[in-house]
């Protein structure tokens, strides 16, 4: 799998927030074999509290995907993206333009506009979007080469609320990398996303807030691998009625 020409073998993209400790974050990344981690930017204090995390990032050796989390306007998101590009030395940006404080639903109108501005300025945009096909088309027209539909609201752990819509996205955008971003709660959710033909899953809270984040990171990676194989193996269609799997022919008459 490639994101903007960069080979990314692991289909799990992992957020770095809310872990019990930096060491557990490191162990979770190592245990799951993650190649891409998401990060953010926040106000610095004069004592340089952000420097510690900066050093941790360098030790991890992963591709860094900065986000514009918390931005509610195009200008906020664009300015944050520019600051992230300089700070992290990457033109990758996970673009979030949030439209609603309770659901953290993307403002897809602002998202398309911000994507257009950033793509034309050389950014490689990973847009956090809904499962709407028309929005997806507009994001591609704006210059995005990846789409990241939500599975459920950020941090909710509800799993995939609209699997049919994700299946439609796969059919409608057969050659576009699709990453389910947000809403995954359990490994079975991650597996299901891959069975639907998604290329990857981005999650954070489901691992960070698990009782054992390292074991959960590993479980997520295993679930993604199983789901991907299941998709490629072309599963059977469900049937309404039972069909015996053991042959009837040769059955003894014992009644």
């Amino acid at each position: 799998m490639q994101f903007y020409g960069t080979e990314v073998p692991c289909p799990l993209l992992l957020g770095t927030a809310q872990y019990p400790s930096p060491q557990i974050l490191k162990d979770a990344i190592k245990a799951s074999g993650v190649d891409v981690i998401t990060v953010s930017l926040r106000r610095e204090t004069a004592d340089g509290s952000g420097a510690g995390f900066w050093n941790t990032l360098h030790d991890l050796g992963c591709h860094i995907l900065p986000n514009t989390a918390g931005c509610h306007s195009v200008q906020e998101a664009v300015t944050t993206a520019h600051m992230a590009r300089e700070l992290f030395g990457t033109d990758w940006i996970k673009l979030e333009v949030i439209g609603h404080a309770d659901t953290l639903q993307p403002d897809v109108f602002g998202l398309v506009e911000a994507a257009r501005i950033l793509c034309s300025d050389g950014f490689k945009v990973f847009p956090y979007t809904t499962d709407d096909l028309i929005v997806g088309e507009k994001l591609l027209t704006a210059g995005c080469e990846i789409l990241m539909p939500w599975g459920a609201p950020i941090g909710s752990g509800q799993g995939l609320r609209t699997p049919d819509a994700l299946r439609s996205m796969r059919a409608h955008f057969p050659d576009v990398p699709l990453i389910v971003d947000a809403g995954i709660g359990r490994p079975s959710d991650a597996c299901k996303a891959m069975e639907l033909g998604m290329d990857a899953v981005l999650l954070n809270t489901a691992v960070a807030k698990a009782g054992d984040p390292v074991l959960m990171a590993q479980a997520m990676a295993q679930a993604l691998t199983a789901g991907r194989s299941g998709y490629l193996a072309d599963p059977m269609e469900p049937r309404d009625m039972a069909v015996p799997s053991t042959p009837i022919l040769g059955m003894a008459e014992l009644a």
């Binding site: 990060v39 953010s40 926040r42 106000r43 610095e44 300089e86 700070l87």
Partner: protein
């Protein structure tokens, strides 16, 4: 001159963004800056002069999802 840095008021003597960062103790290399909502690249900090009331944002790497 009174300016706002990360939502806090500050009285500073420096005239440029680079001078004010030093004056307020922001000496980490892992910083990104914005003034009045617009990004100010590292290379432009010395040439960026401030006026009273300007709003400065100083951001650092942080954990994120």
């Amino acid at each position: 001159m009174n300016i706002i840095v990360n939502a806090q008021p500050h009285e500073v003597t420096g005239q440029t963004l680079a001078e004010i960062l030093l004056e307020l103790g922001y000496d980490s290399p892992a910083l990104a800056t914005a003034m009045n909502g617009s990004f100010v690249p590292r290379t432009a900090r010395e040439a960026t002069t401030l006026n009273s009331g300007d709003q400065i944002e100083i951001l650092a790497p942080m954990q994120g999802g």
